[in-house]
Chain length 219, copies 3
């Protein structure tokens, strides 16, 4: 078992922040899709907890944290309530929401990688699960809402890469026995800043080479 | 371990009824989507067993009941066969099917909540899993068939709320050590009747406040 | 525990071939959907490993093989890279890819059924999980990419039936204690050949009887 990276209460507070901002993004999509108040709550929960739920099922940590920690469950409901009443205001501060979402991405890729490694997975598998923790909720959100996952689309700013870099840094630290509070925080901040830069400068990943023009219409 | 609420054979018969009616709804959607006979069978299985499968994975009850009880597996195939040959007749009695579906909803939210609690989950988590047991199969059905889950849509009669009420009543009984065959049955019947009333009077949940008109087109 | 059917290294090589060809099909769909390079990699991984991941979660074999065997993880990335650079060439040999995909189908339905049985599931459940191992990745691929699963559509050549036959043969052998390397290989080859024949002669499964013409438009 790895030593605790952050103090438990700090880690918990960070988790709740990540859950809250992810839930906001789910609730906003639900409003745009014209779902009712329960649809908003469901999509908020799925977005916020889906990635961690998948990680916990894969590493065999059942029941998953999403079902044992009441705070994890209630936070998305709070976000759903907020969006239900104030969604025009929340949309207006979308840029601010995106900054928090980037913070959630950084926190989750680090926490997910660390938890997977603590449960005995290899370095590559831990990094993969860290990435899945960070982006899995968003993919589930889009699939359930009937949208093509924005993670996969070429016309969206880089999202997976910052999380990959963050998870990769954690794995490097684990490999060289250098994972401390400071290096963990650095990995999370790196992912966070990379995501902010990707949004600011619209960094995008290339599509397949030599795509035939016929493919263009299919986005 | 909680004492058995219903006698095992009664509980099993109730489970099979719930599975059957959920499978019918999956098979009917498959026919409407023009799937072939195997698509009908797959969608019947997924709809009937998906919610319980999710619950069992989360509480760590593997292999899930869906894979250990042959009756659970064969019942959806029977429903698929029936719909395959007689779907116009089944559609004609859609109102009757809906009544059975409401019964399945009531049975599953109670059974799911109870099973989750027996596996050591907290009260809130148990109620959430009871709700997921009752509605999860329908969400999977819609996602796999490429439809926006009818659970989330504002233009559908209340479906989650009756299940929430049923699961909530079970949790209340558990909290006050009052869960018996009678109170369980009452919780299931309450959910059942609420769902019938929601269909009869077209009860719906509100959408987000102050939606901009632009959002209307997106359903 | 069942005796090893194939020698471990042969089994592993067969697994990697199956994973590779399934990953190719995922990557090709990603290119057609205009996803970026990460979308291609994600869809390749999901298609190749999704079926086995589902099986392992259901039988409680956690962490799943997809996360413990580095080769399983890297092979889809190789396929994604190949498709990224050479997709017009890969599309041109689509017929060849389909032959390999059929081989993957045969291998996975046999390996999946055997693994489920080794973990103590009944014969019917083992065959079902063998089928799920073989076709699950493709269903996940289509759902994530926002397509109606081609497995379910009536206008596609038989895909599930060959896998069912292969899984059924394995279960018959298990029932009569006759599962050897030879009978396993025969089951895999039978599924493989049936799929090739289904593609060659466009074998299709029937849709529901007496469909109303109104349903036609909904494909």
């Amino acid at each position: 078992m790895l030593q605790q990276i952050f103090s438990p209460s700090v880690q918990h507070a960070l988790d709740l922040i990540g859950i809250f901002v992810f839930a906001i993004s789910g609730a906003l999509l639900a409003v745009r899709k014209n779902f009712d108040v329960f649809g908003i709550a469901v999509l908020a929960e799925v977005t916020a907890l889906g990635g961690g739920l998948f990680r916990d099922l894969v590493i065999g940590a059942v029941p998953p944290a999403a079902f044992t920690d009441l705070g994890y469950f209630l936070t998305p409901l709070l976000a759903a309530l907020l969006v239900f009443f104030l969604h025009p205001e929340v949309e207006r501060i979308q840029a601010g929401v995106n900054v928090f979402d980037a913070a959630g991405l950084g926190l989750f890729c680090v926490a997910g990688t660390t938890k997977a490694y603590e449960h005995g997975l290899g370095l590559t598998a831990s990094a993969t699960l860290g990435l899945a923790t960070a982006v899995g909720g968003g993919v589930l959100r889009d699939v359930i809402a009937g949208e093509v996952p924005s993670l996969l689309r070429w016309d969206r700013d880089l999202y997976a890469v910052p999380a990959m870099v963050g998870a990769g840094l954690v794995v490097l630290c684990l490999r060289y026995d250098a994972l401390t509070t400071v290096t963990s925080a650095l990995a999370a901040v790196t992912a966070f800043v990379l995501r902010l830069l990707a949004m600011r400068y619209h960094w995008r990943a290339p599509r397949a080479w030599n795509r035939r023009s016929a493919a263009v219409e299919e986005v």
